[in-house]
Amino acid sequence: MTDTRTIIRDGLWTNNVGLVQILGLCPLLAVTGTFINGLGLGLATMATLIASNVTISAIRSLVRPEVRIPVFVLVIASIVTVIELLMSAYLYDLYKVLGIFIPLIVTNCAIIGRAEAFASRHSVLPAFLDGLSMGLGFMLVLVTLGGMREIIGHGTLFSHAHRMFGNLLPDITIVFAGDYQGFLLAVLPPGAFIGLGLIIALKNIIDKRLQARASRVTAAAVPAVQPGH
């Protein structure tokens, strides 16, 4: 059940935090005005998730049930605060934009959720992998939604990359249409909700296609296997 491939597939697709578990929604919707913002918060969340998963898995056998949750949140909060301090030291612009949602990574339901559901039941290595894949899956949703909203809302992509990369990169903003007036709905709160709804529906459609294909494949394969028995 806990083999590497399942863990990774779970995190990225089957049990994706944002699309299937519907957790961690606050940052997912709040900071995805642009691709880069999504990327920034995604990385921060992933780092937290990995660190907290590993720590909690390491101490899992020591914790008593009545203080389990407080200990978990303590661990997570410490990690998040460290990350927050580091970001404000080294990625100040991004830190300013993400605002309150960085400390709020603490209460990102996904993190405590993974701590409870996975890390506290598995050993360090799978917990690390789980953190990585869940974080990656979450980040993918963040950047997809961010990219989508940025394109529709502003007609650009990868704008404000300097917030993330400072002067490492030149301005990589892609402008799709010069005189695009912007479709504000996409950048406003309603657009975030509707956008995520559409992405989830899209995932459902893809799943259905995959399933149809899979059943067609097995249907074709069964007769070939049967004579062997």
């Binding site: 008593r64 049930p65 009545e66 203080v67 407080p70 303590l74």
Partner: protein, 187 residues
């Protein structure tokens, strides 16, 4: 740095004492969720869910070890009820466990029955009457249609027949939204 550690440590320690104390002071025993789940299961006791009857399955659901969509006799209705109880999204019946079919009862062909009592031992609800060497009969009202008596019968004298509905048990059909244009659109 030291102030930080001491301040937070002291706060946490205090809270720890509080929680540890109240964990003892306010201890309560587990709640009866298993009973609630069990009450929703159809009690066919057929084992198709992969457990040795409905209650073990209920225990497995409560323990988070089994999914809610493994009981074919219950079908969608049971899944829906379980989803409501547990506050999760309903999902389609897992077909690995079987398909939801019409309600059936077992009937023993009394001509063929040799009175071996094997079926009696298999029936989870003691719905089969008869003693050794005598022909057996199924009490239709008590048979759950679990089909567990079929495999042991050495002479294959047990068949499953749909439950007969008389006029007092008749159900009004669900009104068909029979759009003629659906067929048209399908073409």
């Amino acid at each position: 740095m030291l102030t930080a550690m001491i301040a937070i440590g002291a706060l946490a320690g205090l809270f720890g004492l509080l929680l540890g104390y109240s964990a003892i002071r306010f201890r309560v025993d587990a709640d009866p969720i298993v009973d609630q789940i069990d009450a929703l299961l159809p009690q066919t006791q057929c084992g198709q869910c992969g457990f040795a009857g409905c209650r073990p399955y209920a225990e497995a659901i409560a323990g988070g070890e089994a999914d809610i969509n493994q009981c074919p006799p219950g079908g969608e209705a049971t899944i829906q009820a379980l989803a409501d109880l547990l506050g999760v999204d309903p999902k389609p019946l897992n077909e690995e466990h079987g398909e939801h079919g019409e309600k059936m009862v077992a009937v023993i062909d009394e001509q063929t029955c040799i009175g071996c009592t094997l079926c009696i031992q298999a029936c989870p609800v003691d719905a089969i009457l008869g003693a050794a060497k005598q022909m057996h009969t199924v009490i239709a009202d008590e048979c759950t249609g679990c089909e567990l008596c079929l495999p042991p019968c050495p002479v294959d004298c047990i068949t499953m027949v749909p439950v007969k509905r008389d006029i007092s048990q008749w159900k009004w059909p669900y009104p068909e939204p029979d759009h003629p244009e659906i067929a048209e659109a399908g073409k």
